[in-house]
């Protein structure tokens, strides 16, 4: 094989070229590290958000990092067809679609007593025959506590701070917290998940067949009449009363919620879940959630489902509300952590002692 005529490099110019290669590689590595956030310790990452939710005693291993205490259900969503005007998603076409869901308490502690947790939640996954899914995670306050993910992060730090004035300082810095704060203080507690109204709080965009887009929020309105209970009375019924109660109630009869979609007017605060929309906004009842069967989370079908609110069918998309993206990022982090800890939350082994 002919030897190519290769110029012989002087040692000095070779060192120069080696230095150039080192610079190229170093710059590549630095750009990568910068993108990964290694030079930006202030950046709010999913990891930091999830760490802020972790109680001082450590996380409930194998459980969701927030809304850690919960119970699975299955049922149906009965669409009445009225939502098809707003969204082309099959879930709004008249029909019945299977639902997998989870009632939960907004706490990072899987063993928290019911009476210690102010906010109740509900996650659902509705599957349609076209292979699409709609996942949503709702809570029972009428407005959210903070208007940005950064605010949520600061709220977590304040609420677990040892500084007695931390919450005062937080509330002073976050006037948008007031409506939620007032609800938490004054709204009656309920004695059953079946009596809770669950709200999306975040806004999303519905797109219909003609391509028309509407910004909406939705709620699940309970068919059961709410019965108020004081936290003290709830505590006396036992730490896990809500789970026992809903299991018993659903075993007796399926429980129903009406899904109501509220449509924003132009100029409504679609990006800020601390701000309710005016009462006169148009609403459409799109169907009924029917909860038919309760199953304990440990072996239940909702256990390994991430109720990521950005898993949406075609016909629903995210809006300018910054929360669904942040929730998706944090829920995924939580999911990655808890699936790696499955051994700390073992399923019931058949034949083993309970």
């Amino acid at each position: 094989m002919p030897e190519p005529n290769r110029p012989v490099l002087a040692n000095r110019s070779m060192l120069g070229w080696l230095a150039l290669i080192a610079i190229v590689i170093g710059a590549g590595a630095a750009a990568f590290a910068y993108t990964a956030g290694w030079f930006s310790p202030q950046r709010l990452t999913p990891t930091r958000l999830v760490e802020a939710l972790t109680p001082a005693a450590g996380p409930s291993l194998g459980h969701r990092r927030n809304h850690a205490k919960g119970i699975c259900f299955t049922g149906e969503f009965e669409a009445n067809g009225a939502g098809a005007e707003l969204s082309k998603a099959q879930v709004f076409a008249s029909g019945r679609y299977p639902v997998l869901g989870r009632f939960n308490l907004a706490t990072p502690d899987a063993n928290a007593p019911d009476a210690k947790v102010r906010v109740h939640g509900l996650g659902i996954r509705i599957a349609t025959p076209d292979g699409q899914e709609w996942r949503s995670a709702m809570i029972d306050p009428p407005v959210f506590a903070v208007s940005t993910p950064q605010g949520f992060y600061e709220l977590q730090l304040a609420s677990k701070s040892k500084d007695a004035n931390a919450m005062k300082t937080f509330i002073a810095a976050h006037p948008e917290f007031a409506p939620f704060g007032a609800w938490a203080k004054t709204a009656p507690w309920t004695d059953s998940y079946a009596e809770d109204r669950f709200n999306s709080l975040n806004s999303f965009v519905f797109v219909n067949k003609a391509g028309a887009a509407h910004v909406v929020r939705w709620s699940l309105l309970p068919a059961a009449q709410p019965v108020a209970i004081s936290p003290d009375d709830l505590a006396r019924r036992g730490p896990d009363y809500l789970e026992q109660e809903i299991a018993q109630r659903v075993a007796g009869a399926p429980q129903h919620w009406t899904m109501v979609v509220t449509i924003a007017n132009p100029g409504d605060p679609t990006a800020d879940p601390t701000r309710a929309w005016p009462q006169d906004r148009r609403t459409v009842e799109v169907g009924t959630l029917v909860v038919q069967k309760i199953e304990a989370e440990r072996d239940g079908p909702c256990r390994d489902i991430n109720f990521d609110p950005t898993v949406l069918p075609s016909g629903i998309r995210t809006s300018d509300d910054p929360f669904p993206a942040a929730r998706s990022a944090a829920y995924m982090k939580s999911y990655d952590l808890r699936t790696a800890e499955a051994k700390d939350y073992p399923r019931t082994i058949a034949g083993a002692k309970p």
């Binding site: 290669i21 190229v24 993108t35 990891t47 390994d304 991430n306 669904p324 942040a326 699936t339 499955a342």
Partner: protein
């Protein structure tokens, strides 16, 4: 054999540079998306999934083309350890190009996430739902991404070493824009 190519075929060069751009974008999008909670997160994840499937398809085509047309021989005077490093690193690059998208797809499947790419194409799950598989695949996807980036950096360093210091034609075999397939007579 009647002749030995000095360069990769134009199709191979095209695929190489196309995939190179995709992989670099993919690695940066990957580390970027897992470190943000801003609305960018959703767009980055969406691109990451679609681009991953695109890389998988391109890499499989590239593998077929490589098996069909082979590669120019390395310079005869290249020291043996460098030859070995070149051969092994290329096996690793091919394994990662094809393996990483598959691991990502399998990971999403094991987590029961719908896998939607290119704005509405639903891909089937390639694994049953499983927390332990998800956890294992997530670790693999995460750590192999860093290994992949390290390998890409080594690949660039080696390419520049061939181009600037050894000046032995290895870089030009892939970097040339000429579409004339130069064939030199063998022996």
């Amino acid at each position: 054999m009647t002749g030995v190519r000095k360069r990769f075929t134009p199709l191979q060069r095209l695929l190489h540079w196309l995939i190179a751009v995709c992989i670099l974008a993919m690695l940066f999008i990957g580390v970027g998306m897992v470190s943000t909670v801003t609305p960018k997160f959703l767009s980055l994840v969406t691109i990451h999934k679609s681009l991953g499937i695109a890389i998988l398809v391109l890499a499989l085509i590239r593998l077929a083309v490589r098996l069909r047309y082979g590669a120019p021989a390395l310079p005869a005077d290249l020291p043996e350890p460098m030859k070995l490093a070149a051969i092994l690193s290329h096996y690793a690059l091919y394994a990662l190009m094809i393996g990483m998208p598959l691991i990502g797809w399998a990971m999403l499947s094991a987590a029961a996430y719908p896998v939607v790419v290119f704005g509405g194409v639903h891909l089937p799950a390639i694994l049953p739902q499983s927390a332990s598989l998800h956890s294992w695949l997530w670790d693999a996807h995460f750590y192999l991404a860093f290994a992949f980036f390290a390998l890409v950096l080594m690949h660039v360093a080696a390419a520049l070493y061939h181009a600037l210091i050894r000046r032995d034609g290895v870089f030009e075999a892939m970097a040339s824009v000429s579409i004339h397939d130069e064939v030199v007579p063998a022996e």
